[in-house]
Amino acid sequence: MIGYVLVMILMGFVASYASICLKRATDNRIRPIEILQSGWLWAGGFLYVGASLLNIFLLKHLPYSVVVPLGALTYVWTMFLSHWLLHERITKSKVLGITVILIGVVLLALSSAS
């Protein structure tokens, strides 16, 4: 069980770090050629695939209604990682919005479980 918890934490972290990389890829680039040449794009894409594989692994072993809300915890990871690495601000509306979304996702998971 503790193994699954670790995989879940890892999945959230990897998915979140993937979006940080993708954000860096488009930071000050807008032309497709430039974005494709950015190492951040490939790093982000690679991590994204990795996170998806972890997600599939978890879905095989744990109930859907547990994995999906935990997947949404990625948003929380992103809030902290982007603050730390990209100096994005943690605002009240971000905290509130993400909290409300998480509640909604948990409700949705509960509704498909029942």
């Binding site: 993708l22 807008i30 994204y48 990209l86 994005e88 949705l108 509704s111 029942s114």
Partner: protein, 133 residues
């Protein structure tokens, strides 16, 4: 230049500060719109995979899926990732609606409440971001 130092000087951190001074991120709505497109593409891609078997639907679903990822990539150009990434949760709303309409899945009151709650969260993020970013 070492990584830490470069991170401190990311152009978008400076842009965010600049935006805050001007009293809002006027381009944020483009990012929000692109995230909606992204969520729609992700759901459409998955629906194609679920509904049809064979090579062609698989490829078509993949193209739609990659298109969605591209929309997300471009969305990040127009706003902070901590605001835009959670908007991906719109895909939960789309898949619930598509599930009900196309796959005739049952719509329970709890599902409706869940969708509305997610929508409220998305609205708080987008509306708040416009003011604060």
């Amino acid at each position: 230049m070492d990584v830490k130092e470069r991170e401190k000087k990311t152009p978008e951190a400076a842009a965010e500060k600049e935006n805050a001074k001007k009293g809002g991120n006027s381009q944020l709505w483009i990012g929000v719109l692109l995230m909606v497109v992204c969520a729609a593409c992700l759901c459409a891609g998955q629906l194609i995979w679920k509904m049809y078997d064979g090579l062609l639907p698989m490829i078509l679903g993949f193209i739609v899926y990659v298109g969605g990822a591209g929309a997300m990539l471009y969305a990040y150009h127009f706003g902070s990732v901590s605001l835009l990434q959670p908007l991906n949760s719109i895909s939960y709303i789309f898949s619930t609606i598509l599930g009900a309409v196309v796959l005739k899945e049952s719509v329970t009151p709890l599902k409706v409440v869940a969708v509305v709650v997610i929508l409220v969260g998305v609205y708080i993020l987008a509306a708040g971001g416009k003011k604060e970013e």
